[in-house]
């Protein structure tokens, strides 16, 4: 039970220190009294006895101190004392304190904000068992990685032959972009409803919290036919849609018109695929005839997620699967399909969630914030050096009074700690504010749908960084101060005696480093500004002003068996066109740069002629549009005509292509219009669609990318018996409206109109075309804004660093400068002296900074558009800006130096 006694003692000593001290006094007092009594008994007089007792005891205060030292928590007591002293010191010089706190807040705030984003996007924990063992398997080949998955037969082959994979599960998100409407207690909830294999949850290492998973069928991975209409709910759906109903199992629910029986509920926090915006329910994969054949990008394709056997590396598994895939590809009958799937790409599941360029851009920005933090720390170090040399005498006095060197170091470190804790609190507030300001951009860029608030791990990292900042910025000054010998400092007694040359040189080196790092950040900022400027001047090929876009989620199930075109889209469009202030309105599966939905059209072409190969490889954007589209967006026709009212279900099917399509189709780059009259695709029996127009190229995928080949088909001509009716009309549709009215005034009206058309449409996402274009600048825009902030802060820190050092030096040299003037130096010469000092620091810093920028701008190359990483103009411009700001900051101390009052200066000591 000794530990119990120890713990009790520890607690007593922590909370009852005052009492313990009083008791110690009493204990020692008793000792003396007892000795006195003994002495009296031995025959001394009372007075004499007391003196003898005291003499025998020795130094009471010392005994008390030494005993005190044996107590628990002595270190804490000392620490608190140091902190208290530090606070008192800092209160005495509020200017210095505020400057340091502000500087640290900038550095720590930027880093905390960026780390929050990194934490949310790159480090988010996946809610699966040993997520690092989970990999995503994709076939790849001549056209790159196949993103839509692989046929069942291929997956089964991998599962049967692989020794490195423990298990392969699969799922289909083919209709993930089409929202499902789950009828619940209140109405219809919008959910994602991916289909999953019977072994997917087992592969992820997660079991249902309630009920069961899907029953396995006879074929590998398949779900038994008796579970064909079973549904598994996520915890979120169970809670929000069904109020955590404990009798949910076995209940029949309707989703997008079909009936399902709930058989299970997944545990809280589980979601799959990871990162979707909507709550999820899971439907089973029931194999059908389509799964008995291999067809690259056939209708039945599945995404595969597998678990590596313990100890197997990603590369080993990939090598094995590539070997297996060679055999699998040989099973493809069509040679051109074979060469699209002859290899395998393996990625950990976590990596597959974040695009490579997003990861790189985030890390680059995180690096930039780290540089800002370093600059801030250097600046603070420099300030603390100045302060510690001004406090030399005070420190010497403490040394003379018996403080050990270690105690002095501890004291100064405590001061640094107080400053950096205050700085990090302010920084945390700044960082949170920055994240709020950038919330929209961060969400669109990184598709993180939680709020970006610092998490526990961010706070922990910030705490670590705070301590590091304190050590970094105050260790050097502290050790320097503690090592200084006491005696000379006490003797000189002049505030100007100051620090030696060594310290000046050290501070100059700090400032030069700061200048160099600031220039690096500024160079990056400059390059990005040039890129954004170039991007904003890219001709898009359509008008973006005064266009309002509603991205609608279509409840297609309500129109099963009916013609959506005539019963839903056309009446809706008609009503929108009659809203006051609407000049024109149109429907389009996806507006240019919309990034909400994408359909790719490919062409089958047998044969081996050059034209056949070219057409097989052509992947075309595919859009269903209504005839008014050209009026809304002002696309330019190069040849032929756009759709018009004469294009009806009964008339000749027509399509319009863009210039890029024509080039890819004909393989020639000469006059537009040759493709007119070609029949491209079939709408059904005897309905071949003919090209009637060629549009000029427009940027439809991304502002930075050249126009992609595109085919547009006419909405009124699409009927339920058209081949691609379901995909074209039932998934997504954007409503684009050209109006002179302000978005805020017309949006509620349009929303009401959509609600009347169908209640689900009230949730449609409204935005303006300008905003869509703005969002599509995406990573560049965000990176530029953030680097603008970082660069601005760096410049500010740098300027204050130069100013601080020079002001200090001028102050130190008042006497010397006065003497020089007394000996005949002109004021201009004195100013030159100070400015020269600033000049060489700036030049050295800039030179170093340009070298750093040369390398660091390579990291930015993926953000750059229309400018080379080593663009000399940008480099020159930022250098000039930095030099100008630096000289301006030196101007003030220089003027003060020149204005030194001669007599005053000579009398200073």
């Amino acid at each position: 039970m000794r530990w119990l006694a120890q713990v009790r003692m520890k607690i007593e000593m922590l909370f009852g220190r005052g009492k313990a001290a009083a008791r110690l006094d009493d204990e020692l007092q008793f000792h003396i009294e007892r000795q006195t009594a003994e002495n009296v008994a031995a025959g001394m007089s009372a007075e004499e006895a007391r003196y003898a007792a005291l003499r025998a005891f020795g130094n009471v205060a010392l005994v008390k101190d030494v005993t005190h030292e044996t107590w628990a928590w002595v270190w804490l007591e000392r620490f608190v004392r140091d902190l208290r002293y530090a606070l008192r010191q800092l209160r005495k010089s509020p200017g210095y304190t505020c400057t340091v706190i502000g500087m640290l807040a900038l550095g720590l705030g930027a880093t905390a904000a960026m780390y929050t984003v990194v934490d949310r996007v790159l480090l988010r924990p996946l809610p699966y068992d040993h997520p690092q063992q989970l990999v995503k398997i994709a076939e790849s080949g001549k056209k790159g990685t196949v993103s839509w998955g692989a046929p069942y037969l291929d997956l089964r082959e991998w599962a049967e032959r692989s020794r490195t994979l423990k298990q392969i599960g699969f799922f289909s998100t083919a209709n993930l972009s089409r929202v499902s409407f789950l009828e619940d207690n209140a109405g219809a909830a919008q959910v994602d409803s991916p289909q999953v294999s019977s072994n997917l949850f087992a592969t992820l290492g997660v079991q249902t919290a309630l009920g069961r998973g899907f029953k396995a069928g006879t074929d590998w991975g398949s779900v038994s036919a008796e579970d064909a209409h079973s549904l598994i709910l996520s915890d979120t759906v169970w809670r929000t849609a069904y109020g955590s109903d404990s009798k949910i199992l076995g209940r029949t629910v309707k989703m997008s018109g079909d009936s399902f029986i709930v058989v299970g509920v997944m545990p809280r926090g589980f979601t799959f695929p990871f990162g979707g915006a909507r709550p999820v329910v899971w439907r089973p994969i029931i194999l059908g005839d389509a799964d008995k054949v291999r067809a690259a990008h056939g209708m039945a394709s599945y995404q595969a997620v597998a678990r590596l056997r313990p100890g197997i590396s990603l590369n080993a598994a990939q090598a094995e699967l590539r070997g297996i895939q060679a055999g699998v590809a040989a099973e493809y009958i069509e040679p051109f399909q074979r060469e699209q799937v002859n290899s395998i790409e393996l990625q950990t599941y976590g990596d597959s969630l974040v695009k490579d360029n997003v990861r790189k851009s985030l890390l680059a920005l995180f690096g930039a914030s780290g540089v800002l933090w370093l600059i801030a720390c250097l600046n603070v170090t420099s300030l603390m050096l100045a302060r510690s040399s001004a406090r030399q005498r005070e420190i010497a006095v403490r040394g003379a009074l018996g403080a050990s060197r270690w105690q002095i170091v501890q004291q100064l470190l405590a001061e640094g700690l107080v400053l950096s804790v205050l700085g990090s609190l302010l920084g945390l507030a700044l960082g949170t504010l920055t994240l709020q300001l950038f919330a929209h951009a961060l969400t669109t860029q990184f598709s993180v749908h939680q709020r970006m608030t610092p998490s526990v791990s961010v706070i922990a990292a910030l705490a670590g960084l705070t301590v590091l900042s304190a050590l970094f910025s105050s260790l050097l000054p502290a050790v320097g101060a503690a090592r200084a010998s006491i005696e000379p400092a006490l003797r000189t007694g002049s505030p100007q005696s100051g620090a030696g040359r060594g310290q000046h040189r050290l501070r100059a080196v700090l400032v030069i480093t700061e200048i160099a790092m600031s220039l690096t950040l500024l160079a990056g900022c400059g390059l990005l500004l040039r890129s954004i400027y170039a991007l904003k001047h890219v001709p898009l090929g359509f008008r973006t002003d005064h266009v309002i876009v509603a991205n609608m989620t279509i409840p297609a199930y309500k129109f099963a068996g009916r013609n959506m075109t005539t019963e839903f889209y056309e009446p809706l469009l008609e009503r929108v066109q009659h809203v006051p202030g609407v000049q024109s309105a149109s429907l389009m599966t996806e507006v240019p740069l919309g990034k909400t939905f994408q359909m790719i059209f490919t062409f089958a072409a047998d044969g081996n002629s050059a034209a056949d190969v070219r057409r097989r490889e052509l992947q075309s954007q595919f859009r269903v549009v209504s005839p008014e589209m050209q009026k809304v967006f002002g696309f330019t026709m190069l040849k032929g005509r756009f759709f018009n009212q004469g294009d009806t279900p009964g008339s000749q099917p027509v399509v319009v292509v863009n210039r890029a399509f024509e080039k890819a189709w004909t393989g020639q780059d000469d006059d537009a219009g040759k493709i007119l009259g070609t029949t491209l695709m079939s709408y059904g029996k005897d309905r071949k669609a003919m090209v009637v127009g060629v549009l000029d190229d427009e940027r439809q995928v991304s502002v930075a990318e050249q126009s992609k080949p595109e085919v547009e088909v006419c909405l009124p001509q699409i009927t339920p018996d058209t081949m691609f009716y379901k995909g074209a009309e039932g998934m997504a549709m954007d409503l684009a409206v050209r109006t002179e009215r302000s978005p805020s005034s017309i949006m509620p009206e349009l929303r009401q109109l959509l609600r009347n058309a169908s209640p689900e449409l009230a949730n449609s996402n409204f935005t303006t075309m300008d905003q869509i274009v703005e969002d599509s600048y995406g990573s560049q825009q965000l990176a530029t804004r953030l680097l603008e902030i970082f660069g601005g802060c760096a410049l500010l820190l740098c300027v204050s660093g130069i100013y601080g050092l020079l002001a200090y030096l001028v102050n130190q040299r008042t006497r010397e400068l006065g003497l020089r003037m007394a000996l005949g130096a002109q004021r201009g010469q004195v100013m030159g002296l100070v400015l020269r000092q600033a000049g060489w620091m700036l030049l050295a810093g800039s030179a170093l900074g340009l070298v750093l920028a040369y390398f660091s701008s390579l990291l930015l190359s993926m953000f750059l558009y229309g400018v080379k990483p080593h663009d000399p103009w940008t480099m020159a411009a930022v250098t000039v800006v930095l030099l100008a700001c630096g000289l301006a900051s030196a101007w003030l101390p220089a003027r003060r130096a020149a204005a030194v009052d001669l007599m005053q200066a000579l009398r200073t000591e």
Binding site: R2, R23, F30, H31, E33, V63, T67, E69, T70
Partner: protein, 109 residues
């Protein structure tokens, strides 16, 4: 602290534990007892006695209680804990071995 009784750290602890083994005592009495029993050879200075007592208390070898002393005034009485008794046995054995060893070396020389 005078040189002759500049006891090795552990030795003072051992002496205190041994002194406390029959009964609880206050600080003054502990010092007095060690002095008497050692035939006035060992004089424990207050500057080492009280820190040692407090350290032993923090470590849980001894415990303290305020009680009325022989003079009628309240005093802090120290007594061994169960753990302290065990520690005393261990330390005494160690001491016996050490002093026997030293004796052997001295006898040889």
């Amino acid at each position: 602290m005078g040189k002759p009784n500049d006891l090795v750290q552990g030795t003072l602890d051992l002496l205190i534990l041994k002194t406390l083994s029959p009964e609880a005592m206050h600080g003054w009495a502990i010092g007095k007892r060690i002095q008497q029993v050692s035939g006035e050879v060992l004089q424990v200075q207050q500057g080492s006695l009280y820190p040692a007592l407090h350290r032993l208390e923090q470590q849980g070898w001894i415990k303290a209680k305020w009680a009325e002393s022989e003079t009628g005034r309240q005093a802090k009485f120290y007594s061994l804990t169960a753990a302290g008794r065990g520690q005393l046995q261990k330390e005494s054995a160690n001491w016996a071995r050490l002093s026997a060893a030293i004796e052997l070396v001295m006898a040889e020389a």
